[in-house]
């Protein structure tokens, strides 16, 4: 067996959980999108309407991609392809960096490098693993689409289109891993490239030209600067053409050859960009200070996400209003996202997106709290807990910073919504009210932040899965409970269900107070329990 294949099997073994989760997740998303389109837009007329709406609105084109006819498959592809391809790209970059720069940084690559193998063998193995993962992804996405009732031939082409984008980013991430000094920075840079591919495609699609009857949009040349744009050109359900996918595969092979040559000439551990030098003196003197410095880069990431979400909520509102003016089915769909659907359509849209910003706020906070667990398992907590400060102090500092992070993320979302409305030049909801609408989700977010803190103090091993699991459960129940027709009592389990959907609903001080007290109680329990268990790790 060639060495690269043997190494590839070893890398696959390390990835045996993570990569299948990615692949199945992406395939399930495809299945869910296809099912939703079939049930929500079963009638040809409905699909024709939504395609016409989208074709006439650059904002839709930017977000989703270009419509290409109104067959069910074509609408599914238009709705879901760009985002699915984005996920495939991220799967590839994370996979590649994990086995290249991160291994080098942690010294594992050195062990392999000392064996009688060619210097390029580990990298070649990673490229093989990335290629195999994307091939399986193509199959799974195709099966998902077919299972949802889409035509088989088109489904296979669509699966290949998603995988072709993922495949393209395998050698690209490998190049990034050669250049960047750490696994962390390589992941960031490679993910940014995937994001840039999405944005370039968005710009190219937004300035594309719709045909006369608004059934199709031809994206501009800018989209072809992005692999996602090329994947979109395969048009699986209208005029299937695998040529653009071949172009991506050839490009991937070329970049792969270049990166293998680069690796052969590079010292192990060397990078084009050197690690930046830090301060010789620190100003950190407290647990809160440390938590802040560690949370800052993460918080910036969540704030960018919240700003995009808020900006869309504000900026797209008027566009939506125009678009759905004559379309009752779309109006109904958006209305179902928020109770009280008789309200103004723009407010409903804004409230729904701001609700998602509330989830982002909770996620930012959860990540802050779960850092406690990382500090413990990675052995840094014992340095912190041997100083004359209590464990309670350590936990509360991180908890408070987590709640503050959630508040900041929510505030940013509200402010961005206000800016979005201002830029469209319409007289929408006043800025103060939009910010209040976002901040109204903070009490619910606080419960999601306090819960993993309690788990961390009681059963530390489970804090990470339960922390994120609760958020996922709350998101499904609170945001989509109505849409999925779940019973009222089940929906009421989620704190998000008790957040007022401002500006549609009015602020409810009672429920906010109750949620605040629950979160505070959770924090107090966590602070008590953390003093009574062994430090692990």
């Amino acid at each position: 067996m060639p060495a690269a294949v043997r190494l590839a099997l070893n890398q696959l073994q390390r990835d045996r959980i993570l990569v299948p989760v990615w692949i199945l997740g992406i395939a399930l998303l495809g299945f869910a999108t296809a099912s939703a389109v079939s049930s929500e837009f079963g009638e040809v007329g409905e699909r024709q309407a939504i395609v016409a709406v989208a074709a006439a609105n650059p904002a839709f084109l930017f977000l989703r991609g270009v419509p290409d006819g109104f067959g069910i498959g074509a609408v599914v592809f238009f709705q879901g392809f760009a985002f699915t391809a984005l996920l495939a790209g991220l799967m590839s970059t994370l996979l590649v960096v994990r086995h290249t720069r991160t291994d080098e940084e942690l010294g594992r690559a050195e062990l392999i490098g000392s064996t009688p193998l060619r210097r390029t063998a580990p990298l070649a193995a990673t490229l093989l693993v990335g290629g195999a993962a994307n091939l399986v992804l193509a199959g799974c996405v195709a099966v998902g689409y077919i299972a949802a009732g889409l035509p088989a031939a088109g489904s296979v082409t669509a699966g290949l289109a998603v995988a072709a984008v993922g495949l393209f980013f395998v050698p690209v991430a490998a190049v990034v891993a050669q250049l960047m000094p750490s696994g962390h920075s390589a992941n960031g840079a490679a993910a940014s490239l995937v994001g840039a591919a999405y944005l370039l495609r968005g710009v190219g699609d937004a300035i594309g030209t719709p045909n006369a009857d608004l059934t199709q949009v031809m994206s501009s040349w800018v989209s072809l600067l992005s692999p996602i744009g090329w994947g979109q050109r395969s048009r699986p359900f209208s005029a299937a053409d695998t040529m653009p996918l071949l172009v991506l595969a050839v490009a991937a092979a070329t970049v792969a050859a270049v990166v293998l040559i680069t690796r052969n000439r590079r010292d192990l551990g060397a990078s084009l960009l050197p690690e930046r030098v830090g301060r010789s003196h620190g100003r950190l003197r407290s647990f809160v200070g440390l938590a802040w410095v560690l949370q800052r880069p993460i918080l910036i990431g969540w704030c960018v996400g919240a700003a995009v979400m808020g900006g869309l909520a504000g900026g797209l509102g008027p566009v939506i209003a125009d678009a759905v003016a004559g379309n009752t089915s779309l109006k109904e769909l958006i209305g179902r996202l928020v109770p009280g659907s008789s309200a103004d359509i723009v407010d409903v849209f804004t409230a729904a997106l701001i609700g998602i910003a509330g989830v982002l706020a909770a996620a930012a906070g959860i990540q802050g709290v779960l850092r406690l667990r990382a500090e413990e398992t990675e052995g840094r907590a014992e340095l912190l807990l041997t100083v004359p400060k209590s464990r309670t102090n350590w936990l509360v500092a991180n908890l408070m910073l987590a709640i503050a992070s959630a508040t900041v993320v929510a505030g940013v979302a509200g402010a961005a919504a206000a800016v979005g409305i201002f830029l469209t030049g319409t007289a929408g909801t006043p800025a103060i009210q939009l910010i209040a609408a976002s901040l109204a989700h903070v009490p619910a977010a606080a419960i999601f932040i306090a819960a993993p803190a309690v788990i961390f103090a009681a059963i530390p091993r489970l804090s990470v899965p339960i922390g994120w699991g609760l958020l996922a459960g709350g998101l499904v129940l609170g945001q989509f409970g109505e849409l999925l027709g779940l019973p009222e009592w089940l929906q009421a389990v989620s704190p998000f269900h008790h957040s007022p959907a401002m500006p549609v609903e009015s602020f409810d001080p009672g429920s906010a107070l109750v949620m605040g007290i629950v979160a505070l109680g959770g924090g107090a329990i966590a602070a008590y329990l953390i003093q009574h268990r062994d430090l692990t790790g």
Binding site: E275, P388, L535
Partner: protein, 313 residues
Amino acid sequence: MADTTDPIIEVRGLGKVFGKTRALDGLDLSVAAGEVHGFLGPNGAGKSTTLRILLGLIRPSSGTATVFGADPWREPVRSHQDLAYVPGDVSLWPNLSGGEVIDLLTGLRGGADTALRRRLIDAFEFDPRRKTRTYSKGNRQKVALIAAFARPARLYVLDEPSSGLDPIMESVFRSEIGRVHDDGATVLLSSHILSEVEQLCDRVTIIRAGRVVESGSLTALRHLKRTHFRVEGVDGRVLANLPGIQDVRVDGLTTEFEVEAATLPLVLEGVAAARPTGLTVSPPSLESLFLRHYAEPSSANDGAGEDRAGRVD
């Protein structure tokens, strides 16, 4: 050698059970004020577990531990008031520079002595500006050592602190121990490096499988041990009858054996009477003592430990 003042660390009958594993099994340890105490034992003997209990990070299953007269589990803040700790495996925040970590850790204890900090960074030839993710094991160790020594403490708890340091840095480390010792601080030092223990420690405690097998001053332990003889040019059978000799090995006209301190004068007379052509007498080596404790299976160990009169003070 018993100290009249209260010991800084007092451990009685300490036990710790992790699931089905018994990590500590009735361990006793007493560290007097102002002494440098070596804490030795093979891997998995329970050294780090003991230190983690003394630091209040984990709770003992049985027995008692006090540090500065306080129970470290109940009163971690009080027992940490004047304490500096260096873990065995130093893990740091990859995004912070070494200098930032040093200032964070000393800051949490009340702030570094700036002159001391500067001197330590020079002495350890340490670059505080690099991000800790780029540090080797030795450099990460230096971060923890500088942070521990840059602010005066009354008790230093060090878990194999010089692992990863080169010989020059080891000597810097030893001189820092000497300095804090001269200042009257107490040091509990777990170690594998015998020369380090011999040079630094006033007293040592050796543990195995969660129990103490030897504890005492280094001098007392040395006296307890047997002197090694190598006699040449004499028929081995003649020497075999000497009183109190042990581990006799005969190879032609060369005979090797061990002698307890008590019977040394008699043996010397007997050897002289045998008129040897060559004689080598080696002092009792600490190494042989450690190797014996380290290598014995734990079942055989219990009796053997008692044979050697367990505690010598």
